[in-house]
């Protein structure tokens, strides 16, 4: 039963993927893959390191940073579906920097809805350092900034002349190779010469609001003390919601001990929220 559901979902996802070809907004010049690690605590207060991969498409006029599962690198096999579940612990957004022009668009799932927030592309004021270090075979320079309350220490390489970086981090005279804050680390792991289209598919069902409001809502939901032990605390009607979904939209991947509703991961326990911006 489940297999057929998953097959249908994958078929749908593939259809969406095909449709997405028509929503091209730029052409990638290259693609960078980052490993993202977040040092936090689990629901019992034990230290835990969550990790996932982030794919960044660097175009001519804009950059798209997204979780691995949203990228073209994601192979729609059952084996990889579990990655979506691991990503759910980290709340990583899909960020279109420079789309629309001069603005940054952010999309994310705060269960059970998708949200989309827009803002003028924020400037990051970097302090460049004379320090250099060889990292992953690149000659890297160091730089620091404080972006929305979080202090970042970054290594970037002028060998790849692009001001892009993972998530919203950007604006240096070279590609970011590693970015580190107290709780977060992004590390460049791959550079791929892929000129695939960068897509933006409008989501009519997504709740649209200013990014400032989205950020506030996000902090309220994930920053609540109850969140780690009961990630659905803010949805008292969750059980009803579970029932309202037809069986055909409930998927269980036993290997990952993962439950999906309409292919959206539902966490039974979460990890303590570590905001990337305040």
């Amino acid at each position: 039963m489940n297999k057929s559901i998953i097959t249908i979902i994958i078929a749908l996802a593939l259809t969406i993927g095909v449709q997405a070809q028509n929503d091209s907004i730029d052409q990638a010049q290259f693609m960078a893959v980052y490993d993202y690690q977040c040092r936090t605590l689990d629901d019992e207060g034990k230290p835990v390191i969550d990790s996932m991969e982030i794919v960044v498409q660097v175009g001519r006029t804009m950059t798209k940073s997204m979780p691995w599962s949203q990228s073209s690198l994601y192979q729609k096999t059952f084996e990889e579906q579990g990655k979506i579940y691991n990503e759910a612990y980290l709340h990583m957004q899909t960020v279109w920097t420079g789309w629309p022009e001069g603005q940054t668009t952010t999309r994310e799932l705060i269960f059970p809805y998708n949200f989309e927030g827009k803002e003028a592309t924020p400037e990051m004021l970097w302090t460049l350092s004379d320090d250099t270090v060889t990292m992953n075979g690149y000659l890297c320079h160091k730089a620091t900034t404080v972006f929305r309350g979080i202090e970042w220490h970054v290594c970037y390489t002028e060998e790849i002349p692009s001001s892009a970086g993972p998530w919203r981090l950007r604006g240096l005279p070279g590609l970011i190779v590693q970015a580190e804050s107290e709780a977060h680390t992004f590390t460049l792991t791959q550079v791929r010469q892929e000129t695939s289209p960068i897509t933006y598919q409008p989501d009519p069902e997504a709740r649209k609001l200013s990014y400032k409001k989205l950020l506030k809502y996000r902090h309220e939901i994930y920053g609540n003390k109850q969140y780690a032990k009961n990630p659905m605390y803010y949805l008292p009607e969750f059980q009803d919601l579970m029932h309202s979904f037809p069986d055909s939209q409930l998927t269980v991947l036993t290997k990952f001990n993962a439950v999906f509703l309409d292919w959206r991961p539902v966490l039974p326990k979460a990890h303590v929220y570590q905001p990337l911006e305040q």
Binding site: Q29, F78, G137, P161, R192, Q193, T254, K255
Partner: protein, 886 residues
């Protein structure tokens, strides 16, 4: 006054304003279309003074707080365009510079970035193998040796922080079981992207909440090794000076394929160079050999092997087919492993054994022999496995055989008497069996399992023939064993921190063993059951944060031995008071039942994923088996006759150990410290009697005590920047035991310590160095005698890389060993090699034993006996080998 002040402020502002400079402009391509995201920098020397990026209209603006002195350069860089720059002297407040860029072909090195050498994901340490590889490394095994905390033994066994790995997976699937050398020695290092070491590993997912001290390894393959077949061909030819086979040759082909659902490794190899072909078939988890009661009674004639240098003239061949298929998306697999190997080995050995005889004088026996053995090992196994979070089901069927022939003619001498004896042995054994294991976990966390392994093994023929001076005598044996075990348990959680365990088990073994000593008519024939029902109630407590864990069990077993005994035809026997008594013409049923308790307790405290303290203690009672009832003599080799005591032996031991393992993975540092103590007591005492060249061994009914204590410490540290790995290890042990010479009991005390250090590093890009040092000190004392033996071994290697593809190496072993009390022997072994890697081809020229050393000798004290071995070493050998990656 105010006016003056106003003028001053205006002047100051003017000065400040004039200090700020701004460069603006527009960047276009050659068609005058704007180019966005161009990085525009003002650079002075190598220092970036300011930078900005162009917007979608190609416009930029770079500001400096104050005008730089002298000339600066304005650079324009973009991933898709050639870099441009222009020299400027910024004297104006605002300067306008437009730039047209020339497109270029992007030539990013794909996937050129090495990931972090090491990442930690909970209990899993993910090593990016490429970060650790040295220039000369070819195989996965070469790479594994460089990982922090990982040790690879000479036979290919992998350990992590002193714990041998319990599972070797490729892309999450256990294709090879213990024969993982097939992977580590045939998969090229550059076909592997990551090596994952999983600490606290659970092979059964249903047990994931239980503590574990196991370590497993998972190999993640590079993309180029997935979804398409690959492999390697090996061919070599060489010459060995004075060898049994002067012409040395090897030939092999290995093919493999790894997809998401299917994996296979197949290999066909043969040769007479070192252990080529045989080495790949080593089973690190055991289980490939067939050992039956008949074969375990009679040891081989091989006389042991030296720990260093090549001593065996070998001819090996093997063929192996291994495949695993996933039957669903992730949890269910079906696996088939089929292999056959042939091994022919011979070597030269001189042995001098000094025994304490009954008259308190020493007897020295000297022997010279060149044992030859030929072994055929076929095996087939099939395994169905479902390993899900809530249910585990495994069923494995296997059939295997061992067909062995030995020749071991001996020239022996004792007190001027020399004797030439012919020894021959032939034995065939096979085993067929099935192992079933089922386990599940309920929603409440109750874990229960049923395990039913059943096997039948038989040695239909085992025959030893001896002859000297026209006298011929023989010994035969045969055995059949049916073994069944039924194990089951329920683990029931009570509350959040307490768990009750109720395991029950029944081990049932039916044996039929018969021995005949042909010349004298001595015969043993035993048939019957060894039944051991077992009840091991216990409990487990863990703290809410699962850092502390305590487990204890009672371990109650009812040992039952029910045998029908027939000794030499005219002397049937029975058991009285636990001892076999021969009584002419009387029936011969022996029943022995005893309740034994083996209580145990273990505790762990996990400070973090990288620091763990463990403590184990347990009391074990072992009751002897039917082997001790073989009261009629058996000719084990040409000069040893063994007679068992007829006493059901019972040994009790209390073992306690504690250990602490600490790691700083990101600093590539590991440390483990351990201590252990064992108190032992047996109701029998091993006794030997030496009469001329002949040795008789038996056991006396007498309580015997032994005691031993050991301490270990081991540490490793890697420095990736210079591809360096350092390791140090120390062991110390002391204890005492008892042994009897005839009826005289002798108490021996021993002290041993061993220190070991190793370092491998790359001080400069074209040079790689490795150095190992091993010092051992061992002392044995009894009565007024004291024997001390020391050994010091250095080994090292120098690798020079004139070009990256060429590896020239010289390695050496230097050994200083004590032969007798005041006699030391020094020996050096040198080997050299040249290896050239060219695309898919690896050419390797090996020169072994450059100094043509032909002997290796050392001494071992076994309590009161002294054995001095002198092994023949293989002569100087040259081998040219080509490995072609398919």
């Amino acid at each position: 006054m105010n006016r003056i002040l106003h003028i001053l402020i205006c002047m100051l502002l003017a000065v400040t304003a004039s200090a700020q400079v701004k460069v603006t402009g527009r960047v276009t391509d050659l068609q005058n279309k704007p180019v966005g995201d161009v990085i525009v920098k003002i650079v002075s020397g190598t220092k970036t003074l300011a930078y900005s990026t162009t917007n979608t209209r190609g416009e930029y603006s770079v500001e400096l707080k104050e005008a730089p002195k002298g000339e600066v350069s304005l650079t324009f860089s973009h991933i898709s365009y050639e870099k441009e720059s222009e020299n400027l002297t910024l004297t104006e407040k605002q300067t306008k510079v437009d730039m047209a860029l020339t497109p270029k072909t992007i030539s990013l090195k794909e996937v050129m970035v090495k990931a972090d050498p090491l990442r930690q994901k909970g209990d899993t340490l993910v090593h990016n193998l490429a970060s650790f590889l040295g220039k000369g490394d070819v195989t996965l095994e070469d790479g594994l040796k460089r990982l922090p905390g990982v040790d690879v033994s000479k036979n290919g066994g992998i350990s992590y922080m002193g714990t041998p790995i319990s599972q070797f997976n490729i892309e999450g699937l256990d294709l090879l079981g213990g024969k993982y050398n097939l992977a580590t020695r045939n998969i090229s290092a550059d076909y592997v992207s990551q090596v994952e070491i999983v600490r606290n590993h659970h092979s059964r997912k249903v047990e994931k909440d239980l503590p574990s001290n196991e370590v497993s390894m998972n190999i993640r393959l590079a993309k180029k090794a997935k979804f398409k077949p690959f492999g390697q061909e090996e061919a070599g030819v060489g010459h060995m000076q004075d060898g049994d086979d002067e012409l040395q040759a090897l030939l092999g082909v290995t093919g493999m394929m790894f997809t998401d659902k299917f994996q296979t490794i197949c290999s066909l190899k043969g040769g007479n160079y070192k252990s080529f072909a045989r080495a790949d078939m080593f089973d690190h988890f055991g289980g490939s050999d067939v050992s039956t009661p008949a074969t375990s009674l009679f040891g081989g004639f091989d006389g042991g092997y030296p720990p260093q240098g090549q001593s065996i003239y070998q001819r090996n061949g093997m063929v192996t087919l291994n495949a695993i298929q996933k039957l669903d998306s992730s949890t269910t697999t079906f696996k088939v492993n089929a292999d056959y190997s042939y091994h022919r080995a011979t070597h030269d050995i001189s042995q001098s054994s000094t025994y304490l005889a009954n008259n308190s004088e020493y007897v020295t026996v000297s022997e010279q022999t060149s044992p030859l053995s030929k072994i055929h090992l076929p095996k087939l196994s099939m395994n169905y496995l479902k390993n899900a979070d809530n249910v585990y089901l495994s069923d494995e069927f296997f059939v295997k055989g061992k067909f062995e022939q030995n020749e071991g003619d001996v020239l022996s001498s004792v007190e001027q008497t020399t004797q030439q004896t012919e020894q021959r042995r032939r034995m065939s054994s096979f085993e067929i069996g099935n192992s079933f294991y089922w386990s599940d976990r309920t929603a409440k966390g109750t874990v229960r399992y049923v395990s039913v392994p059943i096997s039948f093994k038989r040695t239909p023929t085992l025959k030893l023939n001896f002859g000297h001076d026209g006298n011929r005598y023989a010994q035969t044996a045969q055995s059949s064993t049916l073994k069944m075990n039924v194990h089951s348990t329920f683990t029931i959680p009570i509350g959040k921190t307490f768990r009750l365990r109720l395991p029950v088990a029944l081990d049932a073994i039916y044996d039929d063993l018969e021995t005949h000593r042909v010349a004298t008519g001595d015969m043993n024939h035993i048939r019957g059951w060894n039944l051991s029902p077992n009840l091991d109630p216990g409990f487990e407590i863990h703290s809410r944060n699962r850092r502390f864990y305590l487990s204890a069990g009672l371990g109650a077993t009812l040992k039952g031995l029910y045998y029908n005994l027939r000794n030499s035809e005219s002397h049937p026997s029975s058991l009285e008071d636990g001892r076999v008594v021969t009584e002419e013409g009387k029936a011969n049923q022996m029943d022995y039942t005893k309740l034994v308790l083996n209580p145990s307790m273990s505790m762990n405290y996990t400070f973090s994923a990288n620091s763990k303290l463990s403590f184990n203690t347990g009391y074990t009672t072992t009751v002897g088996d039917m082997m001790t009832l073989l009261t009629q003599p058996m000719q084990v080799d040409y000069r040893t006759v063994r007679t068992s005591s007829g006493i059901i032996g019972e040994s009790n031991s209390w073992n306690t150990s504690a250990g602490w393992k600490w790691q700083l993975p990101m600093q590539y540092f590991t440390l483990s410290i351990g201590a252990g103590h064992t108190e032992g007591k047996r109701n029998t005492l091993y006794s030997q009697t030496v009469n001329g060249i002949d040795i008789s061994s038996s056991a006396l009914l007498r309580d015997t005590r032994s005691r031993s204590t050991n301490f270990t410490i081991a540490t490793t540290k890697n420095i990736p920047a210079i591809f360096a790995k350092f390791g140090a290890e120390g062991n110390y042990s002391f204890g005492n035991s008892e042994q009897a010479i005839g009826t005289t009991v002798i108490k021996t005390r021993n002290n041993n310590y061993n220190l070991r250090g190793n370092a491998a590093f790359t001080p400069i890009a074209w040079l790689e160095l490795r150095y190992d040092i091993n010092y051992g000190w061992s002392q044995s004392r009894y009565a007024d005698s004291k024997n001390t033996v020391t050994s010091l071994t250095h080994s090292g290697a120098i690798h020079i890389f004139p070009v990256a593809e060429l590896d020239l190496s010289l390695d050496y072993d230097h050994v200083r060993r004590q032969i007798t009390t005041n006699l030391y022997k020094n020996m050096s072994l040198f080997n050299a090699s040249a290896q050239y890697k060219f695309k898919q081809l690896v050419l390797r020229l090996e020169l072994d034993n450059l100094l043509n050393q032909r002997h290796y000798a050392y001494t071992v004290f076994d309590g009161i006996n002294t054995y001095t071995y002198d092994y023949g070493l293989c002569g100087r050998t040259i081998m040219l080998k080509a490995t072609f990656k398919l």
